[in-house]
Amino acid sequence: MNRPAPSPASWQFDHAAIRGDFPIFSRTIYGNPLTFLDSAASAQKPRVVIDAVRNLYESGYANIHRGIYMLSQEATDAYEATRETVRQLINAERTEECIFVRGATEGINLVAQSYGRTFLESGDEIILSNIEHHSNIVPWQLLRDEKKLKLRVAPVNDDGQVDLEAYKALLGPRTKMVALVHVSNAIGTILPVKEMIALAHEVGAKVLIDGCQAVPHMPVDVRELDADFYVFSGHKIYGPTGIGVLYAKFDLLEAMPPWQGGGDMISTVTFEKTTYNDLPHKFEAGTPNIAGGIGLKAALDYVTSIGYFQIQEYEKELYAYASERLRQVNSLRMIGTARDKAAVLSFVLEGIHPHDTGTILDREGIAVRTGHHCAQPTMDRFGVTATVRASFGIYNNKADVDRLVAGLEKVKEIFG
């Protein structure tokens, strides 16, 4: 990615100001300050995103793409401007390669249903990793059952990193699709996706990357990765819910049939025959999430204004601090200890159910996720049914970590 690294002096940014950009932190929970550690599920929204959505509805709203009047044209321009912002963010070659979807889940289903049903045949193989989100498992199982395919699973080591040798051994002439998480939502592992994509391409397979937990924390360059498909959700990168992005290489999108039919995706319709609209609209049936799209631009602009270099430096330091503090909590077992991890700490307190831990933490104003994190095969791999997951966003600070550690000590005291 061709962003200049700022000088060290310029990344001493004002974190209190960044936290102040998020109005939610002015509220309290049971009289305690809000300690929000569930950004991997969904991130809080900065004022600029809230304002963008409100301004649209208050002064610029109309349906987009077909209106001849000023309001519609303004809304269309604002919505389509997001596409260019997305293109720049992930360094896609063309805006037509960036398809708006409801979220990453819909993006994966689109690829499975459109590309998968068209180009995969009985006996073909799909490779997933052992630490995928259910959203990157179930769409492929549906396709497998329909097309008589084989699903193969690349195992992970005890630290939660993919076993690359085992992955290489799975790749073969029947491998037609590889679907991988970029950063694990359940345990935080950063997969070496660039290398894994190159290996898959050697056997002629296409690769889909689920980047939900990557784009909020690190720069992503789809061309440098050479990803065939890359999906992410807007709400995890500080944007509105119900909007996400499917990136796909232009030639693939051209070859793929439409998935859903309706308005916006057509060129001409008669009862005998319909011709389809050009990309990206071919894959965007129906009135889209206009406010979501416009809010997403504000979110991406916000992230870019802080800068990935600063975000990474800041989160790396916070992550190191949190890892160290949690290591000092007796009877805490960390799940996922790979060297390359991002923004997610998943753990269990020995003898205390994560659900109990989360209930007590909530009473202290600390929001963590407890459960299987929509990744039951990941839980099975580590011999647990659930974990406590603390995940970070750009607004978290060391005081949040300190409150979490104090909360965990209280949990142990109550259940002791």
């Binding site: 049971y30 159910h353 659900h355 909530d362 049914t385 259940f415």
Partner: protein, 142 residues
């Protein structure tokens, strides 16, 4: 004091003595710890209560009376859930199916102030456990 020896009214009374949420949780956890152990044979898929974030198993026993009185037993791997289960069993165990179906658990739980001090029903399993008890009673009445 073992769970079998306290009544739901005594639990409510005790609850009202606490002005600290931590003490209420400690008490709930204690009630759960005192629940008799559920025999291993019931810890299977058949006896599982769906819709809980933790694992919950229920079994029901009928007395020889006519109509029979229902006694519930259960277990969970989460202690707070198990404590809530103990409270539900105090409300419902030893009653006939008809009595169970006519009992307004919500009113009792409101007196315990549980809504304010526990996470939303859906997550802590209270709702699912109540539903299951209702289903078991309906099945026994049929």
């Amino acid at each position: 004091m073992a769970v079998a020896e306290v009544t739901i009214d005594e639990v409510i009374e005790t609850f009202q003595l606490f002005d600290d949420w931590e003490d209420r949780y400690r008490y709930i956890i204690d009630l759960g710890r005192q629940l008799p152990e559920l025999p291993e044979r019931y810890r299977t898929e058949t006896y599982k209560v769906r819709g809980c974030a933790s694992q919950v198993w229920f079994n029901v026993k009928r007395s020889g009376d006519m109509p029979p009185r229902l006694t519930f037993e259960g277990d969970s791997d989460a202690m707070i859930v198990k404590g809530l289960m103990a409270i539900l069993f105090l409300i419902y165990s030893g009653r006939t199916a008809r009595e169970i179906m006519e009992t307004d658990a919500q009113a009792i739980l409101d007196r315990l102030d549980l809504a304010q001090h526990l996470s939303p029903m859906r997550t802590n399993g209270l709702f699912s456990m109540l539903q299951r008890i209702g289903q078991m009673a309906a099945a026994a009445a049929a």
